[in-house]
């Protein structure tokens, strides 16, 4: 299996208060799947995505990516794993405000240190075309609409052809039409690039676009199914 999560637990500590966000999560995701983790706000969707993407540490359990346990590595190794294997799409887009569209998309490739400037330029122009942002490469994030910013965020996640793209509520800050367009874009890229997508949402309109649904409530998986 491409991704396996076994008995994953996560508790947040705030002063003397403890809050368990995930309880014994078990799930598997196949390569190239387009999966939605659904559930109400505070159900643990973001925590689960963050633990899978190595930007948060689970307390116990196993996360295997292509058979290799990636939980509990050093911070340097986790940075390498994120750099080489994951693409992130955030609810608030999280573009770097001092970099323009081109430079934001270029960032993951620069961190990989595998490509020359000419190669990078070609890759960026091609991805801008795919996400429908041709001609906007020199715009700063503040000069773009929410939908355009999320497209830049998708292009940034996709540019290095990661093994897995994790999208946390990618449509939450967008109107319905733009949200649907963004999910359509992710779906078509998933189909074209064969990249595995896992995204979280609590929007029923968006859920219907997913090929597979994993429902989470109060930190526990309540159901898995296909749309």
């Amino acid at each position: 299996m491409f991704l396996t999560v076994q008995n994953l637990n996560k508790t947040y500590h705030a002063g003397k208060m403890d809050f368990q966000a995930l309880y014994d999560i078990n799930l598997t995701v196949g390569k190239g799947e387009f999966t939605a983790i659904v559930g109400p706000s505070g159900s643990g969707k973001t925590t689960l995505l963050n633990c899978i993407g190595c930007i948060d540490n689970a307390d116990s359990g196993i996360i295997r990516l292509e058979g290799v346990n990636i939980r509990g590595e050093s911070s340097k190794e986790l940075a390498r794993l994120r750099r080489e294997n994951f693409g992130f799409i955030f609810q608030t887009y999280n573009l770097i405000p001092v970099l323009n569209v081109y430079e934001n998309i270029e960032l993951p490739l620069k961190l990989l240190r595998k490509y020359g400037d000419g190669e990078i330029r070609e890759m960026i122009m091609s991805i801008l075309d795919e996400v429908g942002l041709q001609g906007l490469e020199s715009r700063m994030p503040a000069e773009l609409s929410g939908g355009q910013q999320q497209r830049v965020s998708i292009a940034r996640a996709l540019i290095k052809k990661p093994k897995l793209i994790l999208a946390d509520e990618p449509t939450a800050n967008l109107d319905t039409a733009t949200g649907e367009a963004i999910v359509d874009l992710m779906k078509s890229l998933n189909k074209k690039e064969k990249i595995t997508f896992i995204f979280s949402t609590h929007d029923r309109l968006i859920m219907k676009h997913a090929r597979r649904l994993i429902e989470i409530r109060d930190g526990k998986i309540h159901g898995k199914g296909r749309t």
């Binding site: 973001t46 963050n50 993407g53 930007i55 948060d56 540490n57 911070s75 340097k76 940075a79 390498r80 994120r82 750099r83 080489e84 994951f86 992130f88 955030f90 609810q91 608030t92 999280n94 770097i96 405000p97 001092v98 970099l99 960032l107 993951p108 620069k110 961190l111 990989l112 940034r156 946390d168």
Partner: protein
């Protein structure tokens, strides 16, 4: 690395007002340091110049039993001045030489009086060693006449042609008084000459003091930087005599300058403090403001060291640009003071407050101050940015992202 530097530059330019404030404080500190160092150096150079030109020449030869604690005692006199002068004339590296006699006296005009140092000079030879002649504003030194500073003349309410009584104890221990006419007035850059020295003809001085010789023989050499090299040659030529270079004669004076130097160290400390506080504040604010960006960069695969380096670069850039602009502006201001100078009269008054400099003093170039300002500003800036940058090292990506999500 280039990419991290680009991010640092953009970050600095984003928080323009905050960066400008830190940058301005640092620039201002460096400007002050450059100017103060230049002025102190200019002051030192003027002081040494006056010291050599009016008091010491490059070397002084005095009697072997010269008593440093009682420099004007008549026992200190060189008896056979002629033979010393002849030997000096035979040395190739020796330029001009001249004999002088010093004794303490009281100068009065029957109404006002003032303690003075009477210096007997040879008007012809003296100009080969000292610059006194260039500062005579009126008259000249004539036999049975005296040359005094304008400010001493003002203090005693006397002027050219007036008589002045000089009272002193001669070599036989007898109190003697002589009325001498003011035949010339001086105005030098050395307040001690202007305020408390009376110049008379050396022949006259010998007669008054009833001594055949002189207190000292001063002379110039071909290169005043070579005094250490020439001293052993002189000691061999004049065994048993007291031979001192201008450097050795200015030790008390050098100590005074060292004290002045300490004030520039305080300025440097001030710059370092500004750099540390300003930059810690700027970078710390930057770190807190950019938590989400730091989290995003880490999520994209940037490791903590690389993120830390972005903030270290920010400190480095602020330090470098702040000190370079400080050096440029400081140099331009210093250039003005090098050509125009600063009038120290208001600060030191006519009396010089113990310094041997007065009036306009020109600044000087101190290139070591530039290197010091640049090195210390950059080092302090990088050290200051290290603390906030170290905080980044302890941050986990989720910790940064959670604050805003």
């Amino acid at each position: 690395m280039k990419y991290l530097l680009k991010l640092s530059i953009r970050n600095i330019l984003r928080a323009k007002r905050r960066t400008l404030l830190t940058f301005t404080m640092l620039t201002f500190g460096v400007i002050i340091y450059i100017i103060v160092e230049g002025m102190l150096e200019g002051f030192d150079q003027a002081s040494f110049r006056n010291f050599i030109d009016f008091e010491t020449g490059h070397f002084k030869i005095r009697s072997g039993n010269f008593d440093e604690d009682h420099p004007y005692d008549t026992d200190n006199y060189i008896q056979d001045t002629g033979s010393v002068e002849r030997k000096l004339a035979a040395l190739a590296f020796v330029g001009g030489y001249t004999s002088r006699i010093h004794f303490i006296a009281e100068a009065d005009n029957s109404v006002d009086s003032s303690p003075v140092l009477v210096t007997g000079i040879d008007p012809v030879r003296d100009r080969d060693v000292f610059s006194l002649e260039n500062f005579i504003v009126t008259g000249s030194l004539e036999r049975e006449g005296i040359l005094i500073g304008k400010s001493l003349a003002n203090d005693l309410h006397t002027t050219m042609g007036d008589g002045l009584f000089i009272t002193f104890r001669n070599s036989r221990g007898m109190y003697t008084s002589a009325e001498l006419t003011i035949t010339g007035l001086l105005q030098t850059a050395d307040p001690r000459i202007n305020n408390s020295t009376v110049f008379i003809n050396i022949g006259e001085a010998r007669e008054l003091m009833a001594v055949p010789g002189s207190s000292e023989i001063s002379f110039r050499v071909d290169d005043f930087h070579k005094t250490d090299e020439y001293k052993p040659v002189l000691e061999a030529a004049f065994p048993g005599m007291n031979i001192r270079s201008w450097r050795e004669l200015s030790t008390n004076f050098t100590a005074l300058m060292e004290m002045k130097r300490k004030s520039s160290a305080y300025i440097l400390f001030f710059i370092v403090t500004i750099a540390l506080v300003g930059i810690i504040n700027t970078i710390l604010m930057s770190v807190y403001e950019k938590r989400q960006e730091i989290g995003t960069l880490m999520a994209l695969g940037m490791d903590q060291m690389e993120v830390r380096n972005i903030f270290l670069f920010e400190g480095f850039l602020i330090g470098t640009l702040g000190s370079i602009s400080g050096i440029i502006i400081g140099t331009l201001i210093n250039l003005y003071f090098i050509y125009v100078g600063i009038d120290y009269t208001a600060m030191l008054g006519d009396k010089g407050m113990g310094f041997n400099v007065m009036g306009y003093v020109k600044s000087a170039w101190v290139f070591s101050a530039y290197a010091k300002a640049l090195t210390i500003s950059i080092t302090a800036s990088v050290i200051a940015s290290y603390y906030p940058a170290k905080k980044v090292m302890k941050m986990e990506p989720m910790e940064c992202l959670r604050t805003v999500q």
